[in-house]
């Protein structure tokens, strides 16, 4: 009796120790991602920081690395992001409102939902081919900002729809019902109650989707964003370049100077992205706390 108890205790100790060791392995695997992220950032910053000064932002691209800058790429990216948001946010929010607040449960709704989930998994380069055939050639928009923005809009539409749907689902149904009880119509309920309540959630999703759009490269190459644009676009129909395109072009060159320029441009892009992501995360946390407190 005594000895079998002893064996059990001994084995239990061993099992626990094994579990601890393997949990340590899990921990190491988990921080691997964070370590890579830090490595990437340190690598980019140490390579690019010396090239990054005020004039880097205000100079046009050049064949001479000493004189090259990202003015047209940065302005192009901001144009793209603005146009893309202008197109995709109303479309995406309207789609989500329809799916959550209007559509009746049935095969059609399920079909649209499955379709959106699948669209979210279509490779971005395929969206580029759609944009090339549909907007650049068929609609005749050429290699314009508009063609690029429309392509990116379709690309991020599923993300906006899905996050807006989640935000709408988080609104308690009692809120809708109390408004209906006062005689409000469906649209009045949505406009004055549901959408304002869901706004922070929708906004968070929009920021995350925009940060996806601003980093996309492949679709823009397909729709013909050019690498060498020594002028600023003045309208949606102008030719353009964008930060990711400029980074790609500089990285693909064999000379070290251009790779350093790429690193400097990456720093600018990452600052933009981190600002957007951080504001989305903070916004979400702020409203989660506020809602939990209420």
């Amino acid at each position: 009796m005594e000895s079998s108890n002893g064996t059990f205790n001994l084995r239990r100790k061993r099992r626990k120790r094994l579990g601890m060791i393997l949990a340590g392995v899990l921990f190491l695997a988990t921080i691997f991602g964070v370590v890579v992220l830090v490595t990437l950032l340190v690598d980019v910053i140490t390579t690019g920081i010396s090239w990054l000064d005020g004039s880097f932002l205000t100079r046009f691209p050049s064949r001479n690395p000493e004189e090259a800058g990202i003015k047209s790429a940065l302005v192009g990216s901001l144009w793209l992001m603005g146009l893309t948001a202008l197109i995709s946010v109303p479309l995406g929010v309207a789609s989500a409102v329809y799916l959550e607040e209007y559509a009746k449960d049935g095969w059609f709704l399920r079909f649209i939902q499955i379709n959106i989930a699948n669209l979210a998994g279509v490779p971005s380069v395929v969206y580029g081919m759609l944009g090339l055939a549909l907007f650049v050639r068929f609609a005749g928009f050429e290699n314009s900002l508009l063609a690029g923005a429309l392509t990116l809009s379709l690309l991020i539409l599923p993300i906006i729809i899905i996050s807006t749907q989640e935000a709408l689902r988080g609104i308690p149904s009692g809120l809708r019902e109390s408004a209906y009880a006062l005689g409000a119509t469906r649209w009045q309920v949505i406009r004055s109650h549901v959408l304002p309540m869901a706004a922070p959630g929708i906004f968070t999703g929009v920021i995350l989707a925009s940060s996806r759009a601003i980093g996309e490269t492949a679709p823009l190459i397909l729709v013909g964003a050019l690498t060498f644009i020594p002028f600023l676009p003045r309208g949606a129909m102008d030719q353009f370049t964008a930060l990711p395109i400029q980074i790609f072009n500089w990285t693909a060159r064999p000379q070290d100077e251009f790779r350093s320029l790429a690193a400097a441009a990456i720093i600018v892009l990452m600052i933009l992205l981190f600002t957007m992501n951080l504001s989305a995360i903070l916004l979400r946390n702020y409203f989660e706390d506020r809602r939990a407190g209420a």
Partner: protein
């Protein structure tokens, strides 16, 4: 899906008088117009799918008029730029498969381990660092990963593997793997969170240790969700473009040697479209045929993964 206000408001019975005020307001032309307008917006996503399929099929018809399906699927050489042109998709497909397998070897174990740790072990303050950390990793643009692969990972690998070329499948594959870790981690974590606590508690009651419970009860219970996350992540790896364009090379060939320069389907599409290939040439048309193959593969994988996800969501 929709929250019905009440049966009487939503669907007025036929015997209600037509001058009923409630019905008039509720079914007013304005209300109906808004409903159809919103519905039209929802249709855009369906039209996008139809558009993608139509464009890829229509644009690749001229290609298949010149290249027989038997050659496309039978040849192992892809040499559109040579005088003696060959269009055998296997040369590009094998490049894609090679990169995808390498990325899966990196991402699936690390992603699953991260999911298990975050879901079962991490104390709240660790979660608060790790989850946003992974989200930031997921937010890094692929072109930045491509830069990282070419200028950091490849030189690092060259110190271990003498003679490794500047462009190789290994570096690209590893970095694609790093890119999809957050996806595996977050979707697998959702699956693990969906497992009821009672299962784990039953295991503890039988004397299992924490690790035994996690590995032999929680993970198997979340198995289908974890599989779905694997499939979605692999599908993402197949469609990844910029990393492989920058780091894996531009030499389509059938090889399983990760140290060699290869070309993926996506990298070929980019190579042609950024060059000066004139419209209407067979090389230009070929990108749509390659795009069609890429689209079909990823579509099938996404459909399978989404089906699995729906299935396991219904189970608990």
């Amino acid at each position: 899906m929709s929250t019905e206000p009440s049966p009487t408001l939503d669907a007025p019975a036929d015997d209600r008088p037509q001058d009923d005020l409630t019905q008039q307001v509720y079914n007013s032309p304005k209300e109906r117009a808004i409903k159809y307008l919103l519905g039209a917006c929802a249709l855009v996503s369906v039209l996008t799918t139809i558009g993608i399929a139509a464009v890829l099929v229509i644009e690749s018809i001229p290609f298949f008029q010149n290249v027989a399906l038997a050659e496309f699927f039978g040849d192992t050489r892809w040499t559109p730029q040579f005088a003696n042109k060959h269009f055998g998709i296997w040369a590009l497909l094998s490049g894609t498969v090679l990169v995808t397998v390498i990325s899966a070897v990196v991402a699936l174990p690390i992603g699953l381990a991260s999911a298990i740790f975050i879901s079962e072990y991490a104390v709240p303050w660790m979660r608060q660092i790790l989850k946003p950390g992974l989200e930031l990793l997921a937010g890094v643009p692929t072109v930045v990963y491509g830069y990282f692969a070419l200028t950091f990972v490849t030189p690092l690998l060259q110190t271990f593997i003498p003679g490794l070329g500047v462009y190789n499948a290994l570096s690209g594959g590893i970095v694609v793997g790093i890119m999809i870790i957050p996806m595996v981690a977050s979707l697998s974590e959702d699956a693990l969170q969906a497992v009821p606590d009672s299962l784990g508690q039953a295991a503890y009651a039988l004397g299992a240790t924490k690790f035994e419970t996690v590995v032999r009860v929680d993970v198997p219970a979340a198995f289908s969700g974890i599989m779905a996350s694997f499939i979605l992540a692999v599908s993402r790896a197949i469609g990844e473009t910029m990393i492989v364009t920058l780091a894996a090379g531009a030499t389509p060939r059938m090889t399983l040697n990760p140290a060699e320069s290869i070309q993926t389907m996506t990298a070929f599409i980019v190579q042609v479209s950024k060059g000066d290939t004139p419209q209407g040439t067979i090389v230009y048309q070929s990108i749509f045929a390659v795009g069609l193959v890429l689209f079909l593969i990823t579509l099938v994988m996404n459909i399978i993964a989404n089906r699995i996800t729906l299935h396991y969501q219904e189970r608990y």
